[in-house]
Subunit: 236 residues, 2 copies
DNA sequence: ATGTGATTTGTACTATCGTACAAAAGATCA
DNA sequence: TGATCTTTTGTACGATAGTACAAATCACAT
């Protein structure tokens, strides 16, 4: 409707397919999958609803393509950073480098996809929360390898911590990472404006620092030696 | 149970209202708000779709009532546990008790609502991820007080850590907490069966231990060079 | 310029959504 | 019992969902 029969020189539409992907990514990441209609996406991309069907066949197909578009580059970037991190000699520094190799690609773009890192990570967070079927399949078969590699690398830096504990803590890391991208405003609010939750650099530094410390916590087995128990007693 | 006396005040029938609430809570928590239809809820509760409208007027009203049902008891429980935790003398033990006061009510039932703790927390996680409007309003005005009280309590145990850092780390804690309830299977999978992600006791212990360590991490200020003060720029 | 294949548009179809509302069924008490 | 209030049922309505598809339009090699 807003279409203007201007000359072809002015605003040349580079690629409608890309516009649809970008719009869908943004809308899915902020509102969830089911809350966004194909018409919403088309409108945001300045396209026709039928165009979405043409390029991606179904709404699920569109989501699938978004994943396909990002998974490769992000995992590649993680592998590179992880490989580099493993070459750090000092164990303490290596741990931090390993954590950073996991965190940084999630916040920043890992390829030519403009600023896609944080947006795609947020998308994954939302799809994960919604229990989206399409997402779950891809995630499990695409990211588990990376996660295992990450866990192993952390374990190498912390041989005295049981692998189980490391799995838990890396799980917490991912949850914290997701949540930081989902509701950054909460950080700003709770800090009474002293911190900006949507500042990626701050988020990364804070997350890396906190996570390294969490990984370095004593193993759980010997940490609960029957001394502590008093406060948690009440139960229903 | 099968009392004979009739009093208009007490509700003791096979309450359909309760069944609808429980079914909605479960379905929303696992599939998100928009993916679940009123008819799905009615069917799961063994009720008629019209019954949902009768009791809760709208779908939003149903979600609202779920929140109303849980917020009070959970915050009350947290306040009690936090008050008890603050009486712990040893600073190290107190910090752990404070964290536990925040974590435990999220995993376990805080009232007579059967096993509602974890389910409701998961619901909150999902609504948060979906950016649900109804949820956001209630959350901000109901949980921010609790969060501030928690942050202050942590800060008292760690006076040398800037409040901003504590806000970030408590934010990470909530993210980790949410994610543990959203995809517990991931923990089981990544640990190759050695850990059970859906075991609340393990999750609590792991989360408390990791979080205490994260809170105790050195302050960030000296870890990050200058170049701070980016101020909140208007975002999209 | 023209033909050809790729893309975009407009529209229509069916299914399902949230919600409304009248009638049926229970419950309560004079 | 019959009157009255509460709850449940059944059904219907308008809106919107995902998708299909033919017509219109565009890009470009010839």
């Amino acid at each position: 409707m807003v279409r203007k029969p201007t000359s072809k020189e002015t605003a040349r539409k580079p690629n409608m397919r890309e516009a649809i992907l970008a719009a869908a990514e943004e809308l899915f990441a902020t509102n969830g999958f089911n809350a966004v209609s194909v018409r919403d996406i088309a409108q945001a991309a300045g396209a026709n609803p039928g165009s979405v069907t043409y390029h991606f066949k179904t709404k699920d197909g569109l989501l699938l393509e978004i994943y396909r578009r990002h998974c490769g580059p992000m995992n590649l970037r993680r592998s590179e950073l992880l490989a580099a991190a493993k070459r750090v000699r000092d164990l303490q520094d290596r741990l931090e480098a390993v954590v950073r190799a996991y965190v940084v690609p999630a916040f920043t773009s890992g390829s030519d996809l403009a600023g896609g890192g944080a947006r795609f990570t947020r998308l994954r967070a939302v799809m994960s929360a919604e229990g989206n079927e399409v997402a779950r399949k891809i995630i499990a078969q695409t990211f588990d390898d990376t996660s295992h590699a990450f866990i192993d690398a952390v374990h190498e830096s912390l041989p005295h911590v049981p692998r189980t504990d490391i799995v838990w803590r890396s799980h917490f890391l991912l949850g914290a990472l997701y949540y930081s991208l989902v509701t950054p405003d909460r950080v700003s609010r709770l800090s009474r404006g002293e911190a900006d939750g949507s500042d990626a650099a701050s988020a990364i530094e804070q997350l890396v620092q906190a996570t390294v410390a969490a990984f370095q916590a004593p193993a759980l087995d010997q940490a609960v030696p029957a001394k502590r128990r008093p406060v948690v007693s009440s139960k229903t």
